[in-house]
């Protein structure tokens, strides 16, 4: 059973709908007990980094999440800010992230000579950087919807799962062990997103 973590941020119903249409069971998780019943975890998120961490830490699910993901290797997929909080921290705020994938979150603005519009908003190409099951069937011509001003910088190049380009090539997907994250919104990316969410369910 895929558990969609509802800590007050992100499009919970959109994920649930995609999976229902695929005939895959999901449960919306709001407490530690329900969370422990999940065999896979989706960690959504929108908005500011610190706000997301604050809500997650106060949700009563932080500890079981750490145990399940780091201890029991339960697969987890962070989406948008849910991906960014996999890092140790962000230029956007001061809060400590989950620290599950080595790296930090930076602003496009911190790049010298960045003259594109922010936020990065709209449909952009996504190129997988490694053969990872999450991108099965999405090796060529995949595009997804983005809506963000900050991006994940992996400490270890091998954690970059896919790359997109907006003035600079950046990691739009990360992967290490059982931990996955995507910056874009698969729940709002039509058949590309449906395929990715299906892939996660089948990992």
């Amino acid at each position: 059973m895929i558990g969609i973590v509802d800590y007050g941020l992100g499009n919970i119903s959109a994920f649930a709908n995609v999976y229902r249409r695929l005939g895959i069971d999901v449960v919306v998780v709001r407490d530690a007990r329900t969370l422990r019943g999940a065999t896979k975890i989706i960690l959504p998120g929108v908005g500011a980094f610190d706000h997301a961490m604050e809500l997650l830490n106060a949700s009563g699910m932080r500890e079981p999440l750490d145990e399940m993901v780091l201890g029991a290797s339960v697969p987890v997929l962070g989406i948008c800010v849910g991906m960014q909080i996999l890092a140790g921290g962000s230029d956007e705020g001061r809060a400590a992230g989950l620290g599950w994938i080595d790296g930090g979150v930076s602003s496009f603005k911190s790049l010298g000579r960045f003259d594109l519009l922010l936020p990065h908003m709209g449909w952009n190409d996504v190129q997988p950087a490694q053969a990872v099951g999450l991108f099965s069937g999405l090796e060529t011509d995949a595009r997804f919807y983005f809506l963000h001003s900050f991006y994940f910088e992996c400490t270890r190049p091998q954690d970059v799962a896919a790359v997109s380009s907006y003035g600079v090539d950046f990691a739009c997907a990360v992967h290490s062990r059982n931990i996955y994250g995507v910056q874009f919104h698969p729940e709002k990316s039509h058949h590309f997103g449906t395929q990715l969410l299906k892939n996660f369910a089948e990992l």
Binding site: N11, V46, G122, H185, K188
Partner: protein, 261 residues
């Protein structure tokens, strides 16, 4: 490559889908949820839904209906109409809407913009400006309450102010081109594009895909929104929800982006 967004804009009134001409004569064109389903099938880039009865009717956002939209919508959704408070913005985001569109409340009280941006992130804050060319001169002024009240504020100045305060996107809606299907106001679109460093969407006037192409040629990576174009077909404006196929979109966009450089 980041692509320009081709965005159907759906107007709501009393829970039904309507289409106006110059902000007047709302014509009932069908069931909004059904329209969303069709745009899902056609894989539209994004969707804007504006409840044009909410502010003028003094009503608050219809959260039940917005929730239905968010649940049904498989593309990014921007909702506007009647949003006056931080709490409403948060509630709408929590329903699964990607962006909230502020209009009269933000125009009357720009201080609301940074507060809502703090709550939901600036990427989700859209400011919609209904604009009309000044009677004398080339500037554009912002009107509110479905184009009935002139605020006297300069569209470009306010758009810049809104961006500086924390808006993530500006939607420029031309009152006089609404429903006319004779093309966007390209000169004004270009002026406002140059004045802003955040994404912008232009609404009002698109009557053909070529109009969208011209907007892309003029403004580059931009949101091209349209109402009539995607709900009517033919000279008699028969209701038919439509949207270009992906190959058509790709061709339109690449041809016009190439022509631009």
């Amino acid at each position: 490559m980041l692509r320009p967004r081709i965005i159907p804009c759906l107007l709501l009134q009393g829970g039904g889908l309507v289409k106006t001409v110059r902000f007047r004569e709302p014509k009932y064109v069908g069931d909004p949820i059904n329209a969303v389903r069709i745009f899902n099938e056609k894989e539209a880039d994004e969707l804007i839904v504006l409840d044009i009865g909410a502010t003028t009717g003094g009503a608050t956002p219809n959260l039940r209906l917005i929730g239905q939209f968010a649940t049904e919508c498989r593309m990014p959704l921007c909702y506007g109409g009647g949003i006056k408070t931080r709490e409403q913005a948060k509630q709408i985001i929590a329903l699964g809407v990607e962006k909230v569109a502020l209009s009269s409340a933000a125009i009357e009280n720009p201080g609301l913009i940074p507060l809502i941006a703090d709550d939901i992130g600036r990427q989700s804050v859209v400011v919609v400006l209904d604009v009309r060319r000044k009677r004398f001169g080339s500037d554009y002024e912002i009107w509110t309450h479905n184009g009935t009240t002139n605020t006297g504020k300069s569209a470009i100045e306010f758009a810049q102010q809104a961006a500086a305060l924390g808006a993530g996107e500006i939607v420029i809606n031309s009152i006089d081109r609404d429903g006319e299907m004779k093309g966007y106001d390209l000169e004004f679109a270009q002026n406002i594009r140059k004045a802003l460093d955040i994404p912008m969407t232009v609404l009002g006037g698109a009557g053909s895909l070529e109009d969208i192409g011209q907007l892309v040629r003029t403004c580059g990576v931009v949101g091209a929104a349209a109402g009539s174009l995607f709900v009517f077909k033919g000279t008699y404006r028969a209701v038919l929800i439509n949207y270009p196929k992906q190959a058509q979109r790709e061709q339109l966009i690449s041809a016009n982006l190439t022509a631009r450089t």
